[in-house]
């Protein structure tokens, strides 16, 4: 027995000796998952009480920030790695020693845990495409395989996507596409897909929910949403496109928490074999970070360690973190708040294409450029001043106003572009 294993086993015995604590967990995970963990954890540590604070990622970060040190929640548990980066750089996370030695350091070439040890991977997630089988059949839509497929005219008004500002996982998906296809191409795809969308949902859950009940045909979702729905009997299916990344969902101990020992216990539990096994439950359907668990999974269960999921993208979370606020705001200004105009413009372009039957047309080209080009190009996104402006403190009045001004510019430009594109497309010959 290696020392780390002994230490780990000993750590598991600690709960029996420890005092009772209330462990508060801030998480964006759905009720099925938190309920399962709560039940199992409290059964194992009868003295502890687990409190779940359900918040979407952005709200969770804001919440942790706003609590004074000493009364903060114990655990932060979410899908988006950059959320943890944000918290880490704000010195809100505390290092946890130990951990499950059965968990490897990398999945593929992506590190599972934070190199500084401030957060640990607890599950793995990929991003993919989910569809409603009945909807697709009824509307005679081809089954998609890659993100680029969803940019095609045939999917107009059948797609659903959430906004990165509302959903950490959508932000990850967006960043994955941007990193995989490059800034300009990535945006072209994203804008086309968004133009094809029937709605930009408020929470990431709105997408799989809508696909599940047949409101939408296709949605961009995190894998466990699609898999859980499918395994729960809904008429849906799920696929990993090649431009995807397997990224860990992390768990971390918040610095200045009320009961840090309790927090540590929960984290240990989540990383233990018992905690990992919970992820295989039908309604949860997540990918454990402990490779041996997959032996206990049902047949056909996706396994990121066996290479069955083709993940082309090496996710650069530093890059993601550095431009987080700009990307999020840009998406909102160009897509979320302008969705009606974007969809209109996209529709006009598809109509024109159909009308022209493949013939080239300068107006149509121009229209395409107007709609599917981001108002911030790849040179501007590297501009440190811009990035710094968006990271500025909210209390800074001048910065806030300037930021608002920049956002207004983007919004105005996007709106004008879409309107112009509609004119051009309609007049294209």
């Amino acid at each position: 027995m290696s020392p780390s294993r002994i230490a780990f086993a000993a750590a598991l015995l600690v709960p029996a000796l420890a005092l009772a604590d209330t462990v508060t967990v801030v998480t964006s995970f759905p009720k099925e998952l938190t309920a399962a963990y709560k039940k199992a954890y409290e059964a194992k540590h009868p003295g502890d009480k687990l409190e779940i604070l359900n918040k979407n990622t952005a709200a969770g970060i804001a919440y942790v920030r706003e609590q004074p040190a000493g009364s903060r929640p114990e655990v932060f548990w979410a899908s988006a790695p950059d959320a943890f980066e944000v918290l880490a750089s704000a010195k809100l996370l505390q290092k946890v020693d130990g951990g499950n030695p059965a968990i490897p350091d990398k999945v593929g070439s992506y590190p599972i845990n934070d190199p500084d040890g401030l957060y640990k991977g607890q599950a793995l997630a990929g991003y993919g495409i989910m569809w409603n089988t009945r909807y697709m059949a009824a509307n005679k839509l081809p089954l998609p395989k890659e993100w680029a497929d969803l940019a095609k005219p045939v999917y107009f008004s059948h797609v659903a996507i959430s906004s990165p500002s509302r959903s950490g996982t959508t932000h990850l998906t967006v960043e994955t596409i941007l990193q995989g296809e490059g800034w300009m191409n990535g945006w072209a795809q994203l804008l086309a897909i968004s133009g094809n969308s029937a709605a930009i949902t408020e929470r990431s859950f709105g997408v799989p929910d809508g696909v599940s009940n047949g409101q939408f045909g296709v949605g961009l979702v995190i894998d466990f949403f699609g898999l859980a729905a499918k395994n729960s009997g809904m008429p849906v299916d799920f696929v990993y496109p090649s431009v995807t990344a397997i990224v860990p969902a992390n768990i971390a101990l918040v610095a200045g928490a009320k009961s840090p020992d309790g927090g540590k216990r929960f984290i240990q539990f989540a990383l233990s074999e018992e905690g990992q096994l919970l992820l295989l439950q039908k309604e949860i359907s997540r990918l454990p970070v402990m490779p041996t668990i997959y032996g206990k999974a049902p047949a056909g269960y996706p396994n990121p360690f066996s290479g069955s999921i083709q993940a082309k993208v090496n996710f650069d979370s530093d890059l993601s973190e550095s431009r987080y606020y700009v990307v999020v705001s840009l998406f909102d200004q160009m897509v979320t708040f302008r969705h009606k105009e974007l969809a209109q413009a996209t529709n006009a372009i598809w109509d024109a294409e159909k009308r022209l039957g493949g013939k080239a047309s300068p107006q149509l080209e121009e229209a395409r450029k107007l709609v599917f080009t981001p108002v911030v190009d790849d040179r501007q996104i590297a501009d440190k001043a811009l990035l710094a402006l968006f990271k500025a403190d909210k209390k800074d009045e001048t910065a806030s106003r300037q930021k608002a001004k920049v956002e207004e510019e983007w919004a105005a430009k996007a709106k004008a572009n879409y309107a112009r594109a509609v004119e051009l497309a309609n007049s294209a010959k």
Partner: protein, 560 residues
């Protein structure tokens, strides 16, 4: 009138302190934050920033649009129904009365999820329409969905207020018009509607405010470009420091006060004390066959619409799979089992918070009513006015106000206030107090002073008189006020979403909202919704029974 004693003064001051601390200060904090800069000085910069953000302008316009359209459609639904019940004799009158109550027992956001399944893009209605006729109706797209759901939920306010108003018109007013040569639509336009207008305005303005301020329904329907959701989203994801959120709150409050004040002013100006003076009132008219067809047709259509969220939520709670089909496929009771297993805590929380809040309300209500009606304490009207201010406070604003004002406040035994159960009780109590107060005032004004004087004449102290004579005589009104407070608090979501910091503290309404966030959770969420509706329905029925036996002229529709 009883003499002012030190005891009375103490009680009055205590009540005033409560209202100041938990109503006035939070609201003032919100307003202050909207207009103060980082140093604490006055600034209009945030207001300017608000006006400059196109999303905010759009949200503002959308909120106004949605509220106005809801009033329009609610009127279209309610006006014919009100006229039918009051002026005609037909068996459907009971149905209309039920129609008036059904929507109010289901909180709008609970029904909204089910409405998606029934009327959404691939909902039951559109599937049928598409198969049969090849077209679909975008009833639930974007703002339309919000308008649709809100109309069905709030039209009873217009219906009940208008019906009461119409019923109060001496029928001889209409007959005089007929006698002098007027009839039909002209008679309605020149005589009936102007006389009923105060009631209509009261109902319509109430609907406008409630829709303008509503947070739950747009959130559940994924509509974020309206003022209330924007404020919520900004405050939760950008932070409690975000000034734009507070500017939005100020706008919400201003509009609420304007609508309330405008309606009150209008009613005062046109307040015709219309009383029947013992003339033989005409029996209600019979419907001609043609009119009967139209009437019953209209009622059936409205009935179906009104029942659809209830039906939808019931189906959803019992369905295993409901996707892209007109009706769910497999049925199961598993969701109810899940709810009873997992959510008994939430049900208990609802009873605790709403019960305590309602209790607090009737105690305060009785005390204020007594102070206002039975003492000569200078400034007692101020208490009444302060409570009325609570009517104009959107739940969202009060929630944000509490979070901001009591941030960091730590109480002995309870811990941080904003993360405790107590904050719910306070928030619910403050916002329901106006209705409880009204009930208590009405009840007390029916107790003649001579009854108290007789007790005092026989040697009872003031306290004993109140406890042994006044309160028992007021009990009907107190109970009605209690139940109303309870029931409306049970369905409330705006404050709740903001104030729920941890799941173990969540009441049922939050639980429903939470459940609706996961696919496997929609079934249990609907089941919990069904339980909530049953609870609220029972409470409302109970309250109506008490009210009906007490006074025939209460207008229940103004409570929620």
């Amino acid at each position: 009138m009883t003499r002012v004693t030190p005891g009375i003064v103490v009680i009055a001051l205590a009540i005033a302190a409560f209202l100041l601390a938990f109503l006035v200060v939070p609201v003032v904090t919100v307003v202050y934050t909207a207009f103060s800069n980082a140093e604490g000085g006055f600034t209009l910069a945030h207001l300017r920033a608000f006006a400059e953000i196109s999303l905010m302008r759009e949200s503002f316009a959308n909120s106004l649009y949605v509220a106005a359209m809801t009033v329009l459609f609610a009127s279209l639904l309610a006006v014919p129904l009100a006229y039918l019940t009051v002026r005609f004799r037909f068996r459907g009158a009971v149905v209309i009365h039920t129609l008036g109550v059904l929507p109010l027992i289901m909180p709008a956001f609970v029904g909204a999820a089910a409405m998606q399944l029934l009327f959404g893009r691939s909902g039951s209605l559109n599937l049928i329409l598409n198969d049969a006729f090849g077209f679909t109706v975008p009833l639930m797209e974007g703002l339309n969905g919000v308008i649709f759901v809100e109309t069905l939920h709030y039209f009873p306010f217009v219906l009940l207020n208008l019906a009461a108003s119409l019923a109060n018109i001496d029928t001889s007013m209409e007959e005089a018009g007929q006698n002098l040569g007027s009839s039909g639509v002209r008679l309605f336009r020149k005589i009936v509607f102007p006389l009923a207008l105060p009631g209509y305005i009261a109902g319509a303005s109430l609907v406008f405010i409630k829709v303008f301020d509503d947070l739950g329904t747009p959130l559940v329907l994924n509509v974020t470009n309206m003022l209330a959701p924007q404020a919520y989203l900004r405050v939760t994801s950008i932070g409690l420091e975000d000034p734009i959120g507070y500017v939005i709150c100020v706008i919400l409050v201003l509009f609420s006060i304007a609508a309330m004040g405008g309606s009150w002013w209008f009613v005062q100006r046109r307040d015709f004390a219309i009383q029947t003076r013992g003339g033989v009132s005409a029996p209600r008219r019979r419907l001609t066959p043609w009119q009967a067809v139209l009437a019953y047709g209209w009622i059936s259509a409205v009935m179906l619409l009104v029942l659809s969220p209830h039906l939808g939520i019931l189906l959803l709670s019992l369905s295993k799979v409901w996707s892209f089909t007109v009706f769910p496929e497999q049925f199961t009771l598993a969701h109810f089992a899940t709810v009873f297993e997992d959510s008994t805590r939430m049900i208990w929380n609802t009873f605790l918070y709403c019960g305590l809040a309602a209790l607090l309300d009737v105690v305060l209500g009785t005390a204020i009513a007594y102070l206002v009606l039975r003492t000569q304490l200078p400034g007692r009207q101020l208490l009444d006015h302060m409570v009325t201010v609570a009517l104009a406070m959107p739940g969202l604003v009060l929630g944000i106000g509490y979070l901001r004002t009591f941030r960091g406040v730590d109480l002995p035994l309870i811990g941080p206030l904003t993360a405790s159960w107590l904050i719910f009780v306070l928030a619910y109590a403050v916002r329901r107090l106006p209705f409880a107060l009204r009930s208590c005032m009405a009840a007390l004004s029916q107790v003649h002073v001579s009854l108290e004087e007789a007790a005092e004449n026989l040697g009872a102290s003031r306290w004993h008189t109140v406890m042994r004579v006044v309160v028992p005589l007021m009990m009907g009104g107190i109970l009605a006020g209690f139940v109303t407070s309870f029931v409306t608090a049970a369905g409330e979501i705006s404050e709740t979403i903001l104030l729920t910091s941890r799941e173990s503290l969540a009441p049922m309404s939050y639980g429903i909202y939470l459940y609706m966030q996961s696919i496997a959770g929609r079934g249990p969420g609907a089941a919990l919704g069904v339980i909530a509706v049953v609870l609220i329905g029972l409470g409302t029925w109970f309250s109506h029974r008490i009210v009906a036996s007490r006074s025939p002229h209460d207008v229940p529709g103004e409570k929620t």
